[in-house]
Amino acid sequence: MEEVIAAVAVKPVVLLEGVSKIIRGRTILEDVSFEVPPAQIVGLSGLNGSGKSTLLKIIGGFITPTEGRVVVFGKEIGKEAEFPDKTGVLIEKPGFLTSMSGRKNLELLASIRNEIGEKEIREVITLVGLDPDDKRPVRAYSTGMIQRLGIAQALMEHPELLLLDEPTSNLDREGITIVHNVLRDLKKKGITILMTSPNMEELRHICDTVLWVENGHLGEEPPQI
């Protein structure tokens, strides 16, 4: 009984109700509804073109749904808040000023809210396996390094929710291990993570729950091979 009461009392961090997205007559998402409980790692998997990245972008407030509502931390996105609070995001290829170093890029972004200092920035850069004293401009970085810097940028402001679109793409084996360890540690600290990947096996390895997106719908997970 106590477990039931506890379960009912826990509000989801992310709530989607009837979300649809149509772009130029093409249905990308249709009537998608789900919840993301707190301190969980939830994975969205699906084939290319299934709509999983679009779903993440809608939750992040970057594109508006054609129908439906998205509620994050109790606020409806697009009505009560333009973007979800306390949320770190890694979507598409991370963009940085290529003439500046990775650390300088993060310092510039951090200067907007001025809530973190050099120490936190150095820590988060080290956390993802990069060198905070690397003075090379970002244009000299490999794709994997840029991806790691993007993850660092998503983590640096101590978010309570992370939206990560294929975070381990372009990473080598070492980089993938680092990211997985970081995500597990963050989950232990109570951070909620929603991530996409076309690799079902990876998601099953790290996520508490995996949702399968197929042709814009949440469908049944394909059988394990």
Binding site: T54, S99, I112, E157
Partner: protein, 289 residues
Amino acid sequence: MGNVPFSRVIRLNVTTAVRWKDLLWTVVLFAVIGLFGVYEVVPYPTALSKNVWDVLFVTFSGPGLVNDSLFEFVHWFLPYLFFFYLFGNIAEEDLSQRGVSLIPLIGSRRKWWLGEVVTLLLLSLFYVAIGITVVLIVSRCFLPWSIHISPFLLSSGIWQIIPKDLSVATLLLRWIFPLFFGTLAAVSLLQTALSIQWRNAFLSFISASAMMILSWLFGIRHPSVVRWLPGSQSMLLRHTFLEPQVHGFSLAWSLGYNAVIILAVLVVSFVCIRRIDIVKEISEIHKEA
């Protein structure tokens, strides 16, 4: 979370938009433009004395109504072209390269857009100030400094009625600076807004440049249309008090014209920006397909 102070947004924009090499090339450009002006003024045969303000006038007065000289056109157009290239697309670059990380940190699309607009206006202001300063410095290498307009300029054949009260302050603060800045701000703001709407920096750059080129071309020997063309607003020599064939083209008209463009762009863009997709729709389809 708290509201992000607007000053921080502006500081970030200016820090990321302006690089030292841009400043250097701006100085070089205006030095060359100034030398063009010196080339026009110094060799002109006259017994009357000349000074630095002659070069300033020649440099920034723009092509006249009947002047189809390519040299005069390039002399006038280059500063605009360079500004459009350097800064006209900073908003689109920010949106497409860093929009996902930048705009949520700022907190709202409108605040981000307002920051871009104010940054562009500030950059226009500094660009014009640098331009005028550099031209004066370059011309000082060839001509004397003075606190008065030169006898040469006052008696030159361009004046239909010699303005008896023409002072340096009038030339600089009532004619050249407001017209140059106003036109630059208006057209580059239009360029920026179009770049966001079309999500295409190149197209918006071409559009802004074409606007200026066509203003010069269509205005040649067509006094009835001159005052309606956006680029004409900075062409001092096509205004009524210097070119009586053009009716109703006062300085107040130009200031009002540029203000209307700026206001119209701001109003429309603030309505549109609220629901703009930060991630391109087209990239959506291509990635997901």
